[in-house]
Amino acid sequence: MTASPFEIEIPRGRVIEVQRDDTRVRRGGGLLRGMAVVWKHWKESFKLNRSYSQIHGTFTIEYPEERPRIPEAYRNMPILLYDDETGHELCTSCFQCERICPPQVIHMTQAKDPATGKPVPAVAEFIIEYDACMSCGFCAEVCPFDAIKMDHEFELSTDDHTQLTVHKEQLLRPISYYAKIAPTMWAEVRESALKKLQGNIRRRPDVIGLAPQLTEKIAARRAELAAQAAQAAAAAPVAPAAAPAPAEGRKLTPEEKAAKLAAIRAAKAAQAGESATPAEAAPATPSPTPAGEAAPPADKAAKLAAIRAANAAKKAAAGEAPATPPAAPDASAAETTPSAAPPSDKAARLAAIRAANAAKKAAAGEAPATPPATPAGGTAADAPADAPPAAPPSDKAARLAAIRAANAAKKQQSGDGS
């Protein structure tokens, strides 16, 4: 062949020509050498080869008897997790996984609060079509509540096809199971997952959100706990029962519920009133930097103050209910329907307006937009439970106004409270 006219210089390496030496007369030497290699393999193959550095020895794994070791990161089909103690499912049906799933095989419906008909952060019906799922692991990655994880179970073959559309009952696994199969991965996300679970449990009316197979068990435990509570009736009104099973602390008396609702509605009204932002239609559009939400920085501070005022009002009104409604419009906020405020809680609304004015005054004075309240995006976009984000020193005034508003609200509340 003519010298190839395509000289290309190679940085950090040289062009090596493969030695063909095809002109040498071959007399069967190569054949014998090949046979020697195969003979060595035959001889060695009576030993097992399970290590990475061995190239001889039988490497077949006799499957049913001898199972291959599955690494921790192994992902097959998604499963839902529920907490062993409380029996609550971690999933709050935020639809993130349904949206990210490339083959769109996850289908879910949000649970409704039977009494008020409003949606509750729990999932009613959750279906995954196992036959179309390609176990890519996206759902496990995007889930903000670590509710859906990838399982290690791969013997899923069935002869009847309908079984492959898996419903919530078959999908649920206890957290202990997942901790066993993926210890380090669960350890990383354990605290945040459980904390969020507590947050969600508080906002789930009685039975909703319980792992179905545990409902009778939980009902029984609740009955027995209620009995204990009855004997200890004389005790001072139980401080917000952090330690005892939060399940029973969660039972709101009807009037508490009304108060809570009012507070939320007030915050809603305040929010709707001032901020010119278009109504937050969907509870949380996935795009953390929603193009539409270019709210001018000034009114953001106002909204902040309003929210803080609502918190204070609610805390004061609800008395022992520890949970504060999630102020920030984070993904999991229950959708607050802007229904008309009932006359009885005008006071709360008044306090909220006053707080808003104070915040506006403060906002007008201080530096440009404080950083968006919640760290949008990132893997777990979760709203801090209640502590207002550490506003940079420059908007101290805003905080001052908030505190003043809070006192005003408390004074107002204690005035007409019982």
Partner: protein, 369 residues
């Protein structure tokens, strides 16, 4: 006197030795091939149309299914294309992990490609079994890191899903100890085996100028004597920090391509050793924290190409500012390496067609998309 008319032989889609569903309509005169018409499209899954309906991240698992032998290489090309489009930069450690994974795929691809080619020549799966054993070890490593053996879906825009598990590096070092022994043994078994020489030397010659005019790439191009390797021509990611050689053939026949692939396995091992030396520690982070889950790149287009084991794999993306690519095009090396098949097979025997096809090493997933 002895009139032999030309025979239309159909080496059909379900023929045992066409890699996947690929048909060749061969006009044969006696034993010699007069003309060959490749027919493919049997595995067309409308990949690029689906990609336009998915968001950028949702496409990542689909790229595993392009060249289902090297899912890591496909991921790498796609991730680079989107990063170039959206302007996301990748931390050091992630770049090194990516190079490590792609070089491991190159080894497993060449090990099985050589195995399949010799298998088409008739050696009853012995070299293939040796290749598959090494491939199993590498797939176990992938399973440790990404969670799946074949459909790894390991790369994200701005890094990789998960950092390497603690037991990954020790196992890899052990594997690197076994690799040279495997490659030498493969050479001892096959390199100057008289029967293989007869079946490979002077068969399926692709002269350099014809290879250039067809635009083939990868071991097929280097087998014809042109030292073009994307990792050297346009060093992407951190390839400019490693020194490795580019093996090149002389004549451009099946034997050259076979030797080039074996030599490339050695070079990949060299690269992996250098990666292990220079691997930055964890503080660099395996993913860029600011990289968004759902990318919404600005309007514009980008083309990223890597040296996948089969050749130059490129992704061309056009973004209209929304979360879904406006246009998504894959430059598949197998598809382009397949085009000179008719010229390469003309004049050789029927038994050689299958060996020449094996030496080009195609995967139908990538050809048909």
């Amino acid at each position: 006197m002895l009139q032999t008319q030309e025979l239309q032989v159909n080496i059909g889609p379900q023929h045992p030795s066409t890699h996947g569903v690929f048909r060749m309509l061969v006009t044969v005169d006696g034993e010699t091939v007069v003309d060959l018409k490749p027919v493919f499209g049997y595995l067309h899954r409308n990949h690029e149309q689906i990609a336009e309906a998915n968001s950028y991240l949702q496409n990542m698992p689909y790229t595993d299914r392009l060249d289902y032998f090297n899912s890591m290489a496909n991921n790498h090309a796609y991730a680079m294309a989107v990063e170039r489009l959206a302007g996301i930069e990748v931390p050091e450690r992630a770049e090194y992990i990516r190079v490590l994974m792609v070089e491991l795929t190159r080894i497993l691809n060449h090990a099985s490609a050589v195995g399949f080619m010799i298998n088409d020549m008739g050696a009853w799966q012995t070299p293939l079994a040796f290749g598959m054993r090494e491939r199993e070890k590498i797939l176990d490593l992938f399973e440790m890191a990404s969670g799946a053996r074949l459909m790894c879906n390991y790369f994200r825009f701005g890094g990789v899903v998960r950092d390497l598990p603690p037991e990954f590096i020790p196992n890899l070092r052990e594997l690197l100890r076994a690799l040279p022994a495997y490659i030498d043994e493969l050479e001892r078994l096959l390199r100057d085996n008289e029967i293989l020489l007869q079946r490979a030397i002077g068969i399926g010659i692709l002269p350099p100028e014809v290879a250039l005019s067809y635009g083939v790439s990868g071991p097929v191009l280097r087998g014809s004597g042109i030292p073009y390797d994307v990792r050297k021509a346009e060093p992407y990611s951190v390839y400019d920090r490693f020194d490795f050689d580019v093996p090149v053939g002389k004549v451009g026949d099946v034997y050259d391509r076979f030797l080039v692939r074996i030599e490339e396995m050695r070079q990949s091992k060299r690269i992996i050793e250098q990666v292990l030396e220079q691997l930055p520690d964890a503080k660099g982070g395996h993913i860029n924290p600011k990289a968004r889950q759902n990318v919404r790149p600005p309007v514009g287009d980008a083309y990223a190409r890597i040296e996948s084991p089969k050749g130059e794999l490129g992704f061309y993306l056009v973004s209209d500012g929304s979360t879904r690519p406006y246009r998504y095009k894959v430059r598949a090396p197998s598809f382009i390496n397949l085009t000179p098949l008719a010229d390469m097979c003309r004049g050789y025997k029927v038994a050689d067609i299958v060996v020449i096809l094996g030496s080009i090493d195609i995967v139908m997933g990538e050809v048909d998309r």
